[in-house]
Amino acid sequence: MFDPYFDSVAAFIAMGDHGFFVWSAYGLSALLIAANMLLAVRRQGRVRAEIARQARRDAVKVSPKSVETNQ
């Protein structure tokens, strides 16, 4: 059962005479799925950076006032 179906690497790549169809199907699928995962991670990074930037701006704006009221 756990012997590969194909005799050689060349036969595996050729897929009978269906190599073009099988490998372009898997290639396009991998491209779309990987791109989608990367876009999700990238957007997460952008939102986090944006919130951190906003927090730093707020900290600068708040600190002189709080010093004033403390005195």
């Binding site: 590969p4 009978g16 169809f21 396009l28 995962m37 997460q44 939102v47 919130i51």
Partner: protein
């Protein structure tokens, strides 16, 4: 029964809270992504390299190991969006709006994968890349529904207004999922009938069924991971003014 209902209710309320949901993602995602990729790899290597050849179609049938997982993922994702849409419309639950937005992009990608791999399987098997038959046309409509929902969410500035419009389209579009499912049974189509059945005997040999089920589990888990990443981002974006997000940012954890 009463305990089950109570657990379900608690779970609904907890995951309905953005803050709890964020913590849930932090706990689950670090292992969900590698597990999903590993399961998918096992299924695909088994299907491409070890599974026997199909008698009539030859090796082109091996496209099934990505075509069926992607198609079923796109359909299940749409049903989940329909449920999230209904909850968003009826109870105005914020997390349902977030899920509605998070489910769309990967679902759209899977619908596109389904159409592309279907075309590449159709050429050597039926002699044509495309035919305007019921199964293929309804699957194309599914892709357009996904893209329409994403476009609505991006076009309307107010996130709550955008969610209501998208939710309405998501709920109405569930009819199309029913058409996709039964198109091969009720109508005369080029596409073959279902070979995997939840109830009753599948017409696919076990030596092909197992790698198919494993690839399916892997791709669905990857979809889940993608949704959790997107939902977590959306929660942070919407809750950026709240105390818990500010504390996370301050402690350098967000």
């Amino acid at each position: 029964m009463a305990i089950m209902w109570k657990t379900l209710k608690r779970w609904y309320h907890q995951l309905g809270s953005p803050r709890y949901f964020y913590r849930f993602c932090e706990a689950v995602l670090p292992w969900l992504v590698p597990v999903a990729l590993a399961v998918l790899a096992v299924g695909l290597v088994w299907g491409l390299l070890y599974a026997p050849v199909e008698r009539y179609q030859g090796n082109s049938y091996r496209i099934i190991y990505i075509h069926v997982p992607a198609s079923s993922g796109a359909l299940m994702g749409y049903i989940a969006m329909g449920v999230a849409g209904l909850v968003a419309l009826v109870w105005r639950m914020k997390m349902a709006e977030v899920m509605l937005k998070a489910l769309a992009p990967f679902g759209a990608a899977l619908a596109a994968v389904s159409l592309l791999t279907g075309a590449l399987w159709g050429k050597p098997t039926w002699g044509t890349y495309w035919q305007w038959d019921a199964r293929m046309t309804s699957m194309l409509i599914l892709l357009f529904l996904y893209l329409g929902i994403m476009a609505l969410q991006n076009a309307i500035r107010d996130p709550r207004q955008a969610a209501r419009a998208a939710a309405l389209l998501a709920v109405v579009g569930v009819i199309n999922v029913v058409i996709v499912k039964y198109s091969v049974e009720w109508l005369n189509t080029l596409h073959q009938g279902a070979t995997l059945k939840v109830v009753g005997e599948s017409s696919i040999d076990p030596s092909m069924k197992w790698p198919l089920l494993i690839s399916m589990a892997g791709l669905w888990l990857l979809y889940a991971a993608n949704v959790l990443i997107r939902a977590r981002t959306e929660v942070l974006n919407r809750e950026r003014r709240s105390g818990w997000v500010r504390r996370l940012v301050r402690d350098g954890e967000a």
